[in-house]
């Protein structure tokens, strides 16, 4: 087991709390906008750490780049998706909480 693999595995483990906190935000935050904040930010960092960690763990450049591509696609989807849902919610007349 190389040092690189250990560093990779620890990064993967470090990603998990972000997933958990994202879900906590999904449950605790009061309206759809604040929930979007929690998810667009926390989940992407969580997945980024998982992908980066697994890439290091594999020790292969091509594999790591493929994981980076997967992460990039998810980031694009959630950044654009968050904006779309927020705009749709405003258009439907959902009032932001506490404003």
């Amino acid at each position: 087991m190389t040092a690189l693999a250990w560093v990779g595995a620890s990064l993967v483990a470090l990603g998990v709390p972000f997933f958990l906190l994202g879900t906590l935000g999904l449950l605790r935050f009061p309206d759809v906008f604040t929930r979007l904040h929690a998810l667009a930010k926390a989940d992407n960092v969580g997945l980024g750490l998982v992908c980066f960690g697994l890439g290091l763990h594999s020790g292969s450049l091509a594999h790591a780049l493929k994981l980076a591509l997967i992460w990039l696609l998810m980031v694009i989807a959630s950044a654009v998706g968050a904006g779309l849902v927020a705009r749709a919610a405003i258009a439907r007349g959902v009032k932001p909480w506490g404003v």
Partner: protein, 176 residues
Amino acid sequence: MALRTLSRLHSFLRRRTRGVGVFERIVAYAILWWILTEGDVRSLAFGIPAIAAAALINPFAPGGPRAWRLARGGPFFAVFAWLSVRSAVDVAARVIRPARPIDPAVVDYPWRLQSGSARQFMANLINLMPGTLTIDPGEQLLVLHVLGGKERALSGIRRLEERVAGLFGEEIPAHE
């Protein structure tokens, strides 16, 4: 019939290859193909038609003039990665405290960026930055939903806009 289809195809392809970046697009997609197949050259029988199709038949018109300055991409990504982690930690801190100090507000921000692609890039990037979420990327104003107070969010957005302007090689007026 066949002739008409052919001539339609011809004019369609001419529209697609006009303008900038056909060559760059093909190189970019070839690199993506290399990543997907993890460098397997036997795949090129599928790869070449796919790369050509991806570069030539995209139903959306290609973007405006040369968009990105590649040399600035690296430092920009480093800043992006750092700010993403910070924003995730920021939102996590708000979730976890029993008092739930989210302090939301809706803010109108007048654009300083000019080009459409830079604005779109920024409007989507904002969703990953600390405490900000795009509600409406309008013509005049960018409408944002922010957490943690207006002032903090606005100063962050100003700095971000300057960085995006640098990435796209745009001059924007300084904030007074």
